[in-house]
């Protein structure tokens, strides 16, 4: 599903965000990319959905070399995956439902199908009673769940989650992780970037630990 071959990413001359990353994530896996802040987790995820280009190295996603992907190939690549952003990236002046509708509009899904899908996903994340509210009126955990529902709108084969429990308390974090585990159980490949090593240890999934842009540990 995802392969990194000697991937380097630097910003300017001084900042090395990723150094010689080689990894292989199989289809259907649930993988944690763990490490402290500034370890390169977000950069790694951004390389996968072609928000960034590596300084050198090759990256295959679903058999496609995203480094050599032409401009017009980026939108289809992103439409094949779901991304949960650390800062949620919700439109604050729109209702929760409209935030999800944005995806089906971009994907050209008929409105009736899109609305049904949005309603089902909001039910899945336990927010069907708040679909007309704006994100302002939701708690951090609820906003996170909206972001998860939005990432699932296009039935992605790959779900990337950047610090999905970053601002949540222990209970809410557990809820979100349970939700991601459910999604994984349905066959979706899930890659979660997190700094929460306790949670990672507890959940016992495959974990790749980054530090200073390098893979320092990998288990099991």
């Amino acid at each position: 599903m995802i392969q990194f071959f000697h991937v380097y990413k630097s910003y300017g001359r001084d900042v090395e965000a990723l150094v010689d990353i080689n990894l292989h994530i199989q289809k259907g896996e649930f993988v944690f990319i763990a490490g402290p802040s500034g370890a390169g987790k977000t950069t790694l995820l951004r390389l996968i959905f072609r928000d960034e280009l590596p300084t050198s190295g090759q990256i295959l996603v679903n058999g496609r070399n995203v480094v050599k992907l032409p401009e017009r190939g980026i939108a289809p690549l992103r439409r094949s995956m779901g991304v949960i952003f650390q800062d949620f990236k919700l439109l604050r002046d729109r209702s929760i439902f409209d935030n999800l509708a944005l995806v089906y509009r971009v994907h050209g899904i008929p409105a009736a199908v899109g609305k049904r899908k949005a309603a089902n996903l909001l039910k899945l994340v336990g927010l069907s009673h708040k679909l007309q509210m704006t994100p302002y009126r939701l708690s951090g955990g609820e906003q996170q769940r909206v972001a998860i529902a939005r990432a699932l709108m296009n039935d992605p084969v790959l779900l990337l989650a950047d610090e999905p429990t970053g601002d949540l308390d222990a209970d809410l974090s557990a809820d979100v992780m349970r939700l991601l585990a459910d999604i994984h159980a349905r066959g979706t490949t899930v890659v979660v970037a997190t700094h929460d090593l306790d949670m990672v240890r507890e959940l016992r999934r495959r974990t790749i630990i980054l530090k200073g842009g390098r893979v320092v540990e990998e288990h099991p």
Binding site: A75, R79, K89, L91, L102, V103, V106, G108, N154
Partner: protein
């Protein structure tokens, strides 16, 4: 199909949200097109007037008093054979005098005491437009002057030439002013769209991240620009038509009566359609500049 519907919906939402800046943009385009339209209407009517005059343009060949009927017949045949001559009318001395008297109605006494009829007989020649150039006319009239029985040759080409030059000048001025105002409209539409793009920067960013194509992001803004431009041009046409009808009413004329020459018409429908298209084009181009610049950034 769904995508197209969403794009159209987004464009309409954009227009609604653009509020006063959108209205200012439409008003600027309308103002520019009103000015351009005024020039178009004036040049169209002056052009029609010149054509009409060219159509009616004639060379008058005054004949010597002593010309014999045989000489006159020969002269008419000779002139009729000229390629420049479309048609020819003969006016005898008597007819010319009668006509002059009609023109002096009420002041016939001025002619008393003249004794012999002083007005010469003449031939009025209608000339094909191709031969109405100053050089061709100079050569043609010079050759007529040399003919036997011809006293003098007169024509008012100079006046028509001046009017043609004025129309050309007006067209050029209209084009220059039109281009300048078109450019101003382009900048204003481009600015309005830029504001709209900035206002929706977050949404555009999210759309990009969830897989929107560049076309999907650009298309609503392009449509917005086109609709604004088209609305501006349409408003200009409505204003121009209103002003045109009001002018006719004020002058108590019906269309086509101005100058008594079958002119005084509004814009040709093709020109009006062209203005609408140009408005939409200006709007689309203006928004393309802004969105392109911001998406690259």
């Amino acid at each position: 199909m769904e995508r197209l519907r969403y794009i159209l919906q987004d464009a309409l939402v954009n227009i609604r949200r653009s509020g006063w800046s959108g209205l200012a943009s439409i008003a600027t385009i309308a103002f520019s097109f009103v000015i351009v339209g005024i020039f178009l209407i004036i040049t169209r009517n002056l052009g029609a007037m010149v054509s009409e005059w060219k159509e009616q343009f004639q060379v008058t060949v005054f004949l010597e008093d002593g010309i014999t009927p045989e000489q006159l017949t020969l002269l008419r045949k000779r002139i009729q054979s000229e390629r420049a001559v479309k048609s020819m009318t003969y006016t005898s001395k008597e007819e010319a005098l009668q006509s002059f008297k009609r023109e002096l109605r009420g002041q016939e006494s001025l002619l008393e005491g003249l004794g012999e009829n002083p007005i010469p007989a003449s031939l009025q020649l209608r000339i094909y437009e191709a031969y109405q150039t100053p050089e061709a006319l100079r050569q043609f009239t010079a050759s007529l002057t040399r003919l036997e029985g011809v006293e003098d040759v007169q024509y008012g080409q100079e006046w028509v030439d001046r009017l043609s030059a004025a129309v050309r000048m007006l067209r050029l001025l209209g084009l220059t002013v039109g281009l300048a105002l078109g450019l101003a409209s382009l900048l204003i539409v481009s600015n309005t769209i830029r504001l709209a793009v900035y206002a929706r920067a977050e949404e555009i960013e999210i759309m990009r991240l969830v897989g929107a194509t560049r076309l999907h992001i650009r298309a609503p803004f392009l449509l917005e620009g086109m609709i604004q431009g088209g609305l501006g041009a349409a408003a200009a046409l409505v204003l121009l038509f209103g002003a045109y009808r009001a002018t006719l009413w004020q002058l108590q004329l019906t269309p086509g009566q101005i100058f008594g020459m079958g002119v005084g018409s509004f814009l040709d429908p093709r020109w009006a359609a062209g203005m609408l298209l140009a408005g939409a084009g200006v709007g689309a181009f203006g928004s393309m500049i802004s969105v392109g610049r911001l998406l690259r950034a």
